[in-house]
Homo-oligomer: 508 residues x 2
């Protein structure tokens, strides 16, 4: 397995009058003996003397793949080939997650994360885009904010591991189209504006220095398929290996936006759409990020709420996974009807408040009808995306081998609850797979496997993008999906069973 | 014919919802239609918007070849494909000569030259090498001095043509091994110190920015064959096409050092040796560079000197071509004997002075016995190099199709005089060819013909280097060559004829 960087230890013959090859050729020939053609950077030419002589020609050469050839990016005395590091970054609009990888063993040395410094220019992407639209200076501020976020993570990594970023040869970044535009210093208004033709979507390999990132080798940015299907999704394809399997799988990344891919080694159908900030607890009144004090799991039994609070302290709000549990439990216990409306006679915890009913899910914390409506619209959008993709591909849910859910959502949300509210299709829970931070995983894989670059070409070529906006009956289908779990409840047999179990009656 | 840079005008379709390819892919696809695969630099990605839109997708793309692929280095609105420029530089230790080339037509737009700023650290190369030996800061001073020399030439070119260096996509540099080491920022002590294994001799293509040179594309530095056979000689091979011919030729570049190649498309035998500064008028008492006031041509008739003075003013000294004329005339007229000693009874212009005889070749200007001795040693060294090479290759002078003399020497020196003193072999003058600044010519050719890079590989592979120091009877042969024209005067039949004609007697 060959990554996008190498460290090779060479024991080279000393120059003599008979063998007076240049230091450069001596090293290049040494690499050729190991079947490696390389070029030497000017930076390394300047290091040749006196390093090679001092090391008595026992040297370790760092090499970075730039998409076309291997470039020698560093020289060290002696055998340091086991000190071979790289960095993989998931460049999210909110959070940057960086992993330092031991490229010698393939292991993760450390993972750190920090907020994206761009947040200073707006928490949501659109605000940031408008901030720097048609203003080169502000665009440069935005670019620098990206870079600073990288530097913050790299500083943390250095602090925790003692390994400076300069010791990492190469870096792989996956991020959505806007994030990559900003990192490269490109205007991103195009991402959200018709005809959605972005500036650059195949960035490939660029020198660290060209991006102001401190690695000596190259930075590979995952390409985008389209404005809404960014490098993070392509990276997710790589992480799940969806494009290599015989069986058909679904890949679902849901956050403020939902991105969806269905396919196998033969085809990849994909789509993306706004899901709404509800899933990240954004618009819900007592909603919050998954931080200390957030309710992240809810059970309702015998009219009582049993909640889990992050940090085990006093609850101060509810995060995405808590919301989904809450709605599922309310529904399964009959506190919400199929139209997702409160059934106030079910409990005294459902109280009439300004603007409608609300439920007190924790002492002093309410979740109101409007919150539920917002959330149900979101889950309906998500479900409808899947439904349309299935219909377009002519595939039934039975044919789906795995349903990958990427990101924080997949990691924290209870599969059972997500099925209960009709957000996930009603399928065997074993087949619903938490893909974790697939974007980051894909970045790590590419760092360690150079051939993936070719796979990515194949993925991009196979991907067929379906514009949900262009689907005639999208709104009609979404309407049907706004019921709990769905107007066509025959699609959710296990949910029906549960309702019967809990409520002890045939409901529909 | 394809050079190492391109400018291509593209008329691209406007983005629509149906064709929402990125600006990057739109351009790369446009190039692909012209059968060109390219990559886009970050710099250009940042230029895409709003340039493409403002230009209504009528744009000209600049491309630079980097040895492995084409890189897009610039974008301009409209069709500017005819404004396609490049720079070729002969990087001499004394003088830098730069030509701005119209790469669209292949014509030279302007040639300028300036002193190498390194002269501040020593007029001769060795002084410079010692100046910065084992001192990174001084080496950096030396590197910057090289760069400043380039900048001076480029500024002159901009002043005279209105074309800034940034409008030149690529650059080709040929220089000797030391000069290229300094340009790249490498210690050059190795060039003159056993085992003569230099730092780097195949520099190839590097970004302008990596060398602090203001071209947006790449700078190609001609490789060296060995410490004394630098890129200027390889460039000379390219200029004379010696390596492509069926007939055997000799290439001779003589200055402070002499470099020599003999061969054809089958073989290339080469050597180099110190010739001595005499040829550049360096050690001769009234010697000077070929500048205003220098005697550059001499005739002796009926006991009278007829001289030509550069600038047509009062003579103040004598330059290389004048010296060779002078010695030839003195010898042909019998004022010098075969041992290059003055024959004082021949003229009252030969006067006894402190340290021996001297001749007054112009009012108040003397050329003394010691000057002649020094010069004869130099010409003997030059001749012996040729002789040894001929012997080693088993080739006789009759088999030589052309005798190329490169550099200022070839340009200014009278062939007849050089033969008369036994510096050039006695051959048909038509076959002795002034190769001019072959180093610069070769640089220009590569700028315009990318394939030459492959030829250079071939040249380097074919070249066999003969160490003159390792030739047993070198000193003995050189001794024989210190006669005028040579101890074995049978080798110079036309000179013998001339002596007879002029002196009216059978001499030997």
């Amino acid at each position: 397995m060959e990554g996008i960087s190498k460290k090779i230890y060479l024991e080279l013959p000393f120059p003599t009058e008979e063998d007076c090859r240049s230091s450069e050729m001596r090293i290049l020939d040494g690499l050729k003996e190991k079947e490696l053609d390389a070029r030497m950077s000017v930076r390394v030419m300047r290091m040749l003397y006196p390093l090679c002589e001092e090391a008595q020609w026992r040297i370790t050469v760092s090499l970075a793949w730039n998409g076309d050839f291997w470039e020698i990016t560093d020289l060290e005395k002696g055998d340091t080939s086991e000190r071979h590091y790289g960095i993989a970054v998931d460049l999210g609009s909110t959070t940057l997650v960086a992993r330092m990888i031991n490229c010698h063993t393939g292991e993760c040395i450390r993972e750190v994360s920090c907020y994206n410094h761009q947040i200073a220019f707006g928490t949501d992407i659109l605000t940031r885009i408008f901030y720097c639209k048609d203003d080169k200076e502000k665009l440069e501020e935005m670019r620098k904010a990206s870079v600073e976020s990288f530097l913050e993570c790299m500083e943390m990594l250095e602090k925790e591991t003692g390994i400076p970023p300069q010791a990492c040869i190469s870096m792989v970044v996956s991020g959505n189209t806007t994030m990559v535009h900003f990192l490269l210093g490109m205007d991103a208004f195009c991402v959200f504006y018709t005809p959605y033709a972005v500036r650059a979507d195949r960035p490939g390999f660029h020198r660290g220095a060209d991006l102001d990132l401190p690695v000596n080798g190259y930075v590979y940015c995952y390409p985008s398929k389209s404005n809404y299907l960014g490098g993070d999704i392509i990276s997710g394809m790589v992480a799940t290996k969806l494009y290599q399997k015989e069986q058909i799988s679904v890949f679902f990344d849901i956050g403020t936006n939902g991105e969806l891919v269905i396919g196998n080694r033969e085809f990849l159908l994909c789509g993306a759409g706004a899901a709404g900030p509800a899933l990240e607890g954004g618009v819900v009144k007592t909603g919050m990020r998954a931080a200390n004090g957030a309710v992240d799991a809810v059970k309702l039994k015998d009219g009582q709420f049993f909640i889990h609070v992050i940090g085990e302290g006093k609850p101060v709000g509810i995060c995405g996974s808590g919301i989904i549990d809450l709605i599922a439990e309310l529904f399964l216990n009959g506190w919400l009807n199929i139209r997702a409306e409160f059934v106030p006679e079910k409990s005294s915890r459902i109280q009439k408040m300004e603007g409608g009913y609300a439920v007190e899910y924790a002492p002093g914390l309410y979740f109101c009808q409007e919150d539920i409506r917002e959330f149900v619209r979101t889950k309906a959008a998500a479900y409808t995306m899947v439904e349309i993709m299935m219909r377009e591909s002519g595939i039934s849910m039975d044919e789906i081998e795995n349903f990958y859910v990427a990101g924080a959502f997949g990691k924290h949300v209870s599969k059972e609850s997500a099925i209960a509210i009709g957000m996930y299709p009603d399928m065997d829970e074993d087949r619903i797979i938490n893909a974790g931070n697939a974007s980051l995983e894909g970045a790590v894989l590419l760092l360690l496997q150079r051939d993936i670059v070719k796979d990515i070409e194949e993925i991009l070529e196979k991907m067929v993008y379906i514009q949900f906006g262009a689907v005639d009956d999208f709104l009609h289908m979404m309407q049907a999906a706004q019921a709990l779990p769905h107007t066509d409840f025959g699609r959710f047999p296990t949910v029906m069973e549960k309702l019967e179990q809990i409520q002890g009656k045939q409901l529909y």
